[in-house]
Every structure is written in structure tokens, then in C-alpha cells.
Symmetry: C2
Subunit: 372 residues, 2 copies
């Protein structure tokens, strides 16, 4: 095993697709087809300010909403940024799961929000803590990743999904669900989107970064038409229009049936990698708790408190393992006096999709030598 992966650096850093999974030839065909097709001029010209209309229409059919309820931008991170600019005044509170997507926390903060994390359990956020935070802080929105959460790998249960939309109905705020990994389910059955349970108060973010290619930067948001209209206006003022040829290529990718076959390929590539990381964690770090996801990009572990995690990143780097700072996934606690620094220090995210099973095993083995 050691012989195969050698001593090369192993990167447990960001949620990156496997390089071999990027469909260069299929996208080339799609690009050629759309640029030389009847809409060739349209996708090179100004216009389509809310995104390429045929893509909005296609997504509208998938999600059973009108195209006017969908905005397609240059990646969902930028839509998060614009949405936050629209919904948050400096000092407003945004709630997230704790831990949550580091770039989302950073985006909300950069737009002036106070970001408070609600402890994430094996089946979703702690509801009592959530309601306490809602009552105390009157948040602008709650940001959740209900499927194969980034970074924890947790999927919110059906019961907690219902509880979330009930809370949103009782108190007045927005529910922002981010579902870029949802389709990458390797086993088990999908639970309903929050949007399915309460379309009026849910804003759904997703993207093709994990399903086709990140550098296409095709992400979208679905919400009530009036809010989407305001978002389109803000996007037009900020970037004029999103890049269109890539959006058109995504439509063509679906039309030709490539999306389904590509998704199947991704699942076949990633499922054994998920199995490999679960097996490696059980073998080399027995007793360290982690959520076992049924899909997505991430498994994460909470190292026991008694383990010394000081300088963990530097020590890992020295033995050929690159990790991301666990602290970045933690927002502020509800109780300002609570010290949660140790949570981040003991939190290790392990994105597994871009590593082979052998690299995964070797990486976990190396990690285990640091924390035994």
C-alpha cells in the first residue's frame, strides 16, 4: 500500500472533484454545439441578466417553479454574497449550523452579519438551541446544508427538516438551504428538500461545481419571484450579466443525456472512496466519533478533547498530510462567554473525492500517528 502511494503529500483540504472526473470531451462537444447553434449569438451578447433563460427554464421544470423564480450566476458563492447584501444590514444576525461551510461564514461576516453557529448533531441542528437563538437574536436567515453537510457530512433527518420549516413559519425569517452535494447520493434514499416542505420561506442554493465542473462556475438560487427579481437587479448592477456560453453548455449537457451518465460515473468513482475513508477511520482511529454520510464530499472527525491538537496542521504537513484549519468552520457561539476554540482545534475535515482509496487509507494512517 505504502509502495503505491509513496511519500507524496496527501491533501485533505478542500472539496475538490477528482480531476479524472472532469468531462472535457463532452463539454467540448456541448460548447461547439451551442456556439454554432441557433442561440450562438445570444450567448455571446449582452442580455439574459438573470442567467441564460433556457437554463432557468430547465431548472424550473426540475424544481417545479417558474423560470422567474430562478437566478443563475457565476457560482453559488457569489449568489450567497449578493443574497446577503440584500437580506442583511450590518449587525444583523445570521444563524448557521456549527460547524458550517467556512466560505459561507466568511461571506456573511464580510457583508456585516454577526454569525452564530447552532450545534450540529448527527441528525441536524440542536432544535432547542436553535429556537433559543431565534427568539434572542431574530436572525435574518438560517443557513443550512441539509444533505451531506459541508464540513460534517451530516444529513438532516426528516423530522428535523419538518421542525425547521415549522420554526420558520412560527418566527419570521428566511431558510437558506445549500444543496450542491444532494444529487451525489451513493446509498440510501433522498429526503425532501426544505423547499418541498415550505417553498414560500425557503431559498435554495445549488450548483454544477460538484456535478459537472467547478470552473464553469454555474450556480443558482431558487426563491420567491419578487426576491429573485431584486437579486437579479443587484446582480445586474454588480456584474452586468453572468458568463453565458458555460450556462448554455450545461443545458446542452443535459439535453444530450450526458448529465445522467456523468452523474452515474461520479457515483461509481466516489462511492468506493467514501467506503475507504469510513473503513480507514474505523481501523486507524477506532473510537473517534464521526457521522457516516451516504453521499457527498466530506467526512469529518471530532478528535477527543484529551488529545493534544496544538500545531496539528504544521505537524501534519511535516509528515506529508495537508489539512484545513478546523477553526474556520466555526462561527460564534450563542453564549458569548462560552469558549468554543477547542471545538475547532479538534475538528478535522476529510474531503475524500479527489483521493484514491489507497491515498485515503495512507492519509488516515498518517493522521492517526499524530493523534494517538
Amino acid at each position: 500500500m505504502q509502495g503505491q502511494v509513496g511519500t507524496a503529500q496527501i491533501l485533505f483540504t478542500r472539496g475538490v472533484p477528482a480531476l479524472e472526473a472532469l468531462p472535457t470531451t463532452l463539454l467540448s462537444e456541448c460548447m461547439q454545439s451551442v456556439l454554432e447553434g441557433p442561440d450562438g449569438k445570444t450567448i455571446l451578447q449582452y442580455g439574459n441578466y438573470g442567467g441564460y433563460l433556457p437554463l432557468r427554464t430547465m431548472l424550473g421544470e426540475q424544481y417545479r417553479v417558474a423560470p422567474e423564480q430562478i437566478i443563475v450566476g457565476n457560482g453559488s458563492l457569489h449568489l450567497q454574497d449578493l443574497l446577503t447584501a440584500l437580506l442583511v444590514k450590518p449587525g444583523d444576525v445570521v444563524l448557521t449550523e456549527q460547524p458550517s461551510y467556512d466560505r459561507a461564514i466568511q461571506t456573511f461576516r464580510r457583508r456585516g452579519a454577526k454569525v452564530i453557529g447552532i450545534p450540529l448533531e448527527a441528525d441536524g441542528v440542536n432544535l432547542a438551541k436553535l429556537e433559543e437563538a431565534i427568539i434572542q437574536k431574530k436572525p435574518a436567515f438560517l443557513y443550512v446544508i441539509p444533505d451531506f453537510q459541508n464540513p460534517a457530512g451530516v444529513t438532516t433527518s426528516a423530522a428535523k427538516r419538518q421542525a425547521l420549516v415549522d420554526l420558520v413559519e412560527r418566527y419570521d425569517f428566511w431558510l437558506v438551504e445549500d444543496v450542491p452535494y444532494r444529487t451525489l447520493r451513493y446509498s440510501g434514499e433522498s429526503l425532501p428538500l426544505l423547499r418541498d416542505l415550505n417553498p414560500a420561506r425557503t431559498l435554495t442554493l445549488s450548483s454544477y461545481s460538484k456535478l459537472i465542473s467547478p470552473a464553469l462556475r454555474v450556480g443558482y438560487l431558487i426563491g420567491p419571484g419578487d426576491l429573485v427579481k431584486r437579486l437579479i437587479k443587484l446582480m445586474e448592477e454588480t456584474i452586468l450579466a453572468p458568463v453565458l456560453p458555460t450556462q448554455a453548455a450545461v443545458v446542452e449537457f443535459h439535453k444530450r443525456g450526458y448529465f445522467d451518465s456523468n452523474l452515474e460515473n461520479l457515483k461509481q468513482l466516489y462511492a468506493p472512496r467514501l467506503q475507504a475513508i469510513i473503513a480507514a477511520l474505523k481501523t486507524y482511529l477506532p473510537g473517534v466519533p464521526f457521522a457516516e454520510p451516504e453521499g457527498g464530499f466530506f467526512v469529518s472527525i471530532n478528535l477527543p478533547e484529551e488529545i493534544d491538537c496544538s500545531n496539528l496542521l504544521a505537524r501534519a504537513q511535516a509528515i506529508g498530510l495537508t489539512l484545513t484549519n478546523g477553526k474556520d468552520f466555526f462561527a460564534d457561539p450563542l453564549d458569548e462567554h462560552e469558549n468554543t476554540a477547542h471545538l475547532g482545534e479538534h475538528f478535522v475535515r476529510l474531503p475524500f473525492c479527489a483521493l484514491t482509496p489507497d491515498q485515503i487509507e495512507e492519509g488516515v494512517k498518517r493522521l492517526a500517528t499524530l493523534v494517538r
Copy 2:
């Protein structure tokens, strides 16, 4: 003439390239080549946060700067937005030419700047007014479009270019030059970039929107390496990375020699349109002053004060002419008590590139019936 253009609506609205000039087939070839080439995976993956490195390198050679001094984003408007976020604290002053690009004024204001316009003369801004404003307001930056200005069509003279960089040297602020039209010169000789005169204090913005296609959204900024580094960090935090396949296609478009031939085609298409609008204005609106540009997308007129311009847009619309609101091109005057509303009311921008010479003549004829 009337017979040829009929009674269809004529759009003197935004600076839009002619649809027939969009190189669908050439871009299709380039896309195919880059997606199936050795960098195919790279341009579909995360990374290249400051833009596609070969494009930054190519631009670096053109502008004789290091690639690290260049950031390539999803259109130059978004780079303007990010730059303003970096340089402007709410309440800071930004100076522009008066009139100036409406979306730029709006961007600076949205980021919290107080935007003050310095009267634009036939050879560039009024230098006395500019110095007065600099001394009084200590601006974060001066934003200028030195070549074929949007909206006025004015080109800043060599003497005034030197005066601008002298002022920047004497007082401490940034010079932001926006040069998307510069290469579209139909006659005469180019003057130096402000960057050529003072690279340390000039930030140069440009884009391929007018030279290849707007919906590629490939725009760039050139500046000192440390500022560009901060801008790349902010761009990564905001959008992760720009769309890459389109940036790679732009490099290929150059490599194959398509850029030069396409530029030649654009000039041959647009030069007669510029001649047509100059001729039409002289014929149908004699005595109304306007700057005669030697390139670019815009001619604009200042209607005499005695002409009634109330409801001009609605009256134009009714006779088959769509205009843009002149007021949007005007920032605040330096003297808060000065009433400059009439300037915007009497200002009409006439983008000519997307109209045939016949449409241009008919459009100006219609305009003349309203203001005689």
C-alpha cells in the same frame, strides 16, 4: 431610406456590439481546442484564483508587467466593484469625469462612496476644477475613461494625460483608467495610457466585451502587485474563482491570430457607422455641439438649454426611438448648491455600433423632430 429601415424601433440605448460581429464559429473552434487540449482539466477545476494564468501571462507581455500585476475576473464591472470595496470606506469621495459611465457611478455609490463629477471638456476633464476637488475632498481615486469616453466620446489629450499623472503624483490618490474601447480606433493615432506615464499610481481596467464578446465576461485589472494580491484574495472570498474555459478561449483566440483579424473586421464594420452618425448629426441637428470621436462606441450631444427636454424619453419612445436617461451619467457636482439637473436632461448618448448607417440616419432624423 425610410423604406429600408421601416418604422421599427431604433435603440440608442447601451454600448452593445453588433450582433453580426460576434465570432461564434471562431470561438467554437477555440473552446474545442482548449477543452480537448493539455489544459482541459485545469480549466474545469478549482484553482487559478486570479484568473487563468496563461491569460495573465499573455496580458503581462502586452502591457509589459508581471502576471502577478494582473487579475482577470468575470467582466471589468465586477473588478470595479471589488476594487471599490477595497479602496473606499463609506463616505469617501470618488471623482469621475462629468458625465461618466452610469454603471461605474452606481457601483461607487453602492459601495458607499460620495461620487463627484468633474466637468469633461473636449480634451478631458477641467483641470482647475479637478485640482480644487482633490484639495477639498481628498478622493480615494479618480475614475477616467481616457479613450473614446463613455458616454461623451471624448479622448483625453496628451497634455491633460500628463497633467493627470502630475496631479496624482502631487496629491496622494489612485488613478483608475478604464480603457475597453481604446483598441477600437478608426482613425488617428493612439495616445499613451496613463499607466505608461505613471505605472505606480495607475490602475488600468479593460475587457474583451467590445473586442470579442460581452457574454464571455472576460475583464481585467492591472496594478501594483501588492494591490492586485489583495484584490485576488477579495475575489476568491467573493466568487472563489472566475469562469475559466472562456478565459482559455480568449488566449486561444489570440494564439490563432483571430484577435487581430476580428479587430480589423470590427473596425471596418464600425468606422462607417461612426461616419454616419457624425454626418447625420451635422445634417439634422446643425449647431448642436458634440465631440467627434476617432473610435469607440459613443457619440453624445448636449442639447441647447433653450430646448424643452421634458419627457424626452417618453416622446422619443412614441416615435420609435429608445433613449437612455441622460441623468444617469451625471454624478454630484463639487459645489453642492449648484443645480446640474438640466445637464442630464439635455444630454443624449448615441451608441452607434449596433445600428446600420441607415438606422443611424433615421434615428437622428427622428431625434431632430423632437428637439427642433
